[in-house]
C-alpha cells in the first residue's frame, strides 16, 4: 500500500479509459499520456492498461507501507526514493517506509507536464463501468470518484511481484520521437467538418500560429490562445453531436479549445480540426504556458502514426522481456 503525503491537487487514478458509456453521457477519461502509462506498466510487467496515479502538480510525495515495485514515467521530476535519486522511466523496488518524492518537472530536451506513478500489478481500485479511471464530472471511478488527498491510501494489486531488474529503464518516447514545427512543439491535425467554414486567413493562421496553452487548460480541454482569433465566414450554431478527445472546437471568441481525456462526449461548437489520436499524448504533456503548433496531416499519416506507436510499444516490450530473460538466465 502507499500513502499520499502531499495535498495532491488534481492527482487522480487513471487507466487507459472507459469505453461503452458514451450513450449515457459518460466520456473516456483515462491517462492524458497513455504512452507513459503503458510504458510504466510494461516496466513492471503489468497489463499495459493497468491503473496508475497521474500527477499534474508538484511536488508530490508518497510513502510505501509495504515493499513494492514501482516505476515513474511521464515528466522527469527528479524523483528520489528517500534521498536516493532515481532515473525517470525506470522501475525500482521500494521497501516499506520509504518515501518517493517527485519535484518540479525538469526543463530538458523534452519538457513534460504530468508524471505517472505506476505500481506492481497496477493501482487496485474497483472498476466502475469497465474502468478504474477517475470520472471527475460523474464523481465515480478511481478513488471515490475524486482527486487524491493527503492521507489517502492506495493498494498495489501485486506489490510482491518484481518482473524487471531494478533500475531497468527506457528512453522516453518524447526524446525518441520528437515532433516540432519551426522550433515549436507540434501535434498533427486532420481538418474537421467545419474547417472550410473559416476564412482563408484564419485557416492559414491556424497552421502558422504558435498557440499558447493557457492556465484554463485541464483534463477536460486545452484552452489555447493566439493571434489572430479564428473567424468563420458565418455564425455557426450547431446541433449537439458526439465528439471525441482531440477534437478542436472554436467557440465564437475564435480561441480554439482542444478536447482532452475528460472531454464531454458531445458538444456543439464548430470543429476546425482533430488532433490525431497518435499525438494526443504529446498534447497531454504540454505544460501550461508552453506553445504548440498544428501540422496538417492526411488520413494515411494519422493511421501510420498510430501503427508507429504500437510498434514502439511492442519493441519496448520485447527489449524489456529480453532483459528479464537475461536476468533469469544469469
Amino acid at each position: 500500500m502507499i500513502e499520499i503525503l502531499s495535498n495532491a491537487a488534481l492527482a487522480t487514478v487513471q487507466d487507459r479509459g472507459r469505453e461503452g458509456g458514451l450513450r449515457w453521457g459518460v466520456g473516456n477519461s483515462g491517462a492524458m499520456d497513455p504512452l507513459a502509462l503503458a510504458t510504466g506498466n510494461l516496466l513492471l510487467g503489468n497489463d499495459e492498461s493497468a491503473a496508475a496515479i497521474e500527477v499534474p502538480v508538484f511536488p508530490f510525495r508518497v510513502r510505501f507501507t509495504v515493499d513494492c515495485a514501482f516505476a515513474v514515467t511521464g515528466a522527469d521530476c527528479g524523483a528520489t526514493l528517500d534521498e536516493r535519486p532515481l532515473m525517470p522511466w525506470a522501475c525500482y523496488e521500494a521497501r516499506a517506509g520509504q518515501v518517493l518524492s517527485l519535484g518540479l518537472p525538469r526543463a530538458g530536451a523534452w519538457r513534460a507536464a504530468r508524471a505517472y506513478v505506476c505500481l506492481a500489478g497496477g493501482v487496485d481500485v474497483p472498476a466502475v463501468l469497465g474502468s478504474r479511471s477517475t470520472q471527475l464530472r460523474g464523481a465515480f471511478g478511481g478513488l471515490e470518484g475524486r482527486a487524491l488527498r493527503k492521507g489517502d491510501v492506495l493498494r498495489a494489486a501485486a506489490p510482491g511481484r518484481a518482473m524487471r531488474r531494478s533500475g531497468v529503464g527506457v528512453v522516453p518516447p518524447g526524446l525518441q520521437m520528437p515532433l516540432e514545427a519551426g522550433g515549436c512543439a507540434a501535434v498533427r491535425v486532420l481538418p474537421a467538418a467545419e474547417y472550410e467554414c473559416y476564412t482563408a486567413a484564419s485557416r492559414t493562421a491556424f497552421w502558422r500560429t504558435e498557440w499558447k496553452v493557457t492556465p484554463q487548460s485541464d483534463r477536460y480541454g486545452y484552452r489555447l490562445s493566439g493571434e489572430p482569433a479564428l473567424q468563420s465566414t458565418a455564425a455557426l450554431e450547431m446541433r449537439s453531436h458526439g465528439i471525441v478527445p482531440g477534437v478542436i472546437q472554436v467557440p465564437p471568441s475564435g480561441q480554439p479549445i482542444v478536447q482532452m481525456r475528460d472531454a464531454q462526449p458531445s458538444g456543439g461548437y464548430p470543429k476546425i480540426g482533430t488532433v490525431i489520436e497518435a499525438d494526443l499524448w504529446r498534447l497531454g504533456q504540454a505544460p501550461i504556458g508552453s506553445r504548440v503548433r498544428f501540422i496538417e496531416a492526411t488520413w494515411d499519416e494519422a493511421v501510420s502514426a498510430l501503427d508507429e506507436l504500437r510498434a514502439w510499444l511492442d519493441e519496448t516490450r520485447s527489449v524489456l522481456d529480453l532483459c528479464h530473460d537475461i536476468r533469469h538466465a544469469a
Partner: protein, 218 residues
C-alpha cells in the same frame, strides 16, 4: 426532404452522421433506429445518438471512410422511425436568481420578459432525444424557438448540477457540476445518474421531461 445526410470524420476512429432538414422528432426516431442497426456492425464500437445526428466510434481506424459512408447512407434510406415509449418525469424548477445567472442574457437576446421566458420554457412536454455532455445529461427536443439563445461567447468554467439552460435552439438540465457554454436560466434537484444502477442513467431516449414552475426570481 431529399437532401443528403452529411458524414464527416472525427479523427480516424469516429465519424459523425448528420441528418438533413429541420430538427424534428420523426427524424430523431430514425436516428434511434439507425443507431440500433449500426451498433451491430463489427467495426462499430459504439453508436451514439445526438440531436438529429449519430456518432459512430470505431474499434480501429479503417483504411478510409468510403465503405462505412455508403453503408450509412443505404441504412438511412431504409430505416423507419423507431417509436420509443418512455416515461414522463416532472422536474420542479426555480427560474432566475443565483440558480439562473444567465436569465438576463436570454432576456436581452430574445426581447422577452422573464415571465414570458418562463412560460414558454415550462409549457412543452420535452422528449429526451439523446444523452451526452456528461453522465446522465439529456438533450431535449421541443423547445419553443422564440427563446432560442446562442451559446455563450466563452464557455463558463463550471455551472452547478441541476442547472436548467438554453444553448441555441436546445434546452437541458446539467446532471453534475462542470463547464458549459450554455445560458443557465434556472435550477432543479434530481439525481440523473448512478453508476451502480443498470442502466446508470435515470432517463433514456424516448422518455419525457416536464418542467414545473416552482418559483420565479425576477
Amino acid at each position: 426532404m431529399n437532401a443528403a445526410a452529411r458524414i464527416t470524420p472525427l479523427g480516424t476512429t469516429a465519424l459523425l452522421f448528420e441528418a438533413p432538414g429541420a430538427l424534428t422528432l420523426p427524424t430523431q426516431q430514425r436516428i434511434w433506429a439507425l443507431a440500433r442497426e449500426a451498433q451491430e456492425w463489427t467495426e462499430v464500437r459504439e453508436a451514439v445518438p445526438g440531436m438529429n445526428n449519430l456518432m459512430l466510434t470505431l474499434v480501429g481506424p479503417p483504411r478510409g471512410l468510403q465503405a462505412l459512408e455508403e453503408r450509412l447512407h443505404a441504412a438511412w434510406s431504409a430505416v423507419r422511425p423507431l417509436g420509443l415509449e418512455g416515461r414522463t418525469v416532472v422536474l420542479p424548477v426555480t427560474y432566475g436568481g443565483d440558480g439562473g445567472p444567465h436569465m438576463a442574457d436570454v432576456v436581452a437576446h430574445t426581447g422577452l420578459s422573464v415571465d414570458e421566458i418562463v412560460e414558454l420554457h415550462s409549457a412543452p412536454l420535452y422528449t429526451v432525444y439523446a444523452l451526452g455532455s456528461h453522465p446522465g445529461y439529456c438533450y431535449l427536443g421541443g423547445m419553443d424557438p422564440r427563446i432560442a439563445t446562442p451559446r455563450r461567447q466563452v464557455p463558463v468554467m463550471s455551472i452547478p448540477g441541476g442547472s436548467v439552460s438554453i444553448g441555441g435552439a436546445q434546452t437541458g438540465v446539467s446532471a453534475s457540476p462542470g463547464p458549459s457554454g450554455w445560458n443557465t436560466i434556472g435550477s432543479t434537484d434530481m439525481c440523473f445518474f448512478d453508476p451502480a444502477r443498470d442502466p446508470p442513467a435515470l432517463l433514456q431516449p424516448g422518455d419525457s421531461i416536464r418542467f414545473r414552475v416552482e418559483k420565479v426570481i425576477r
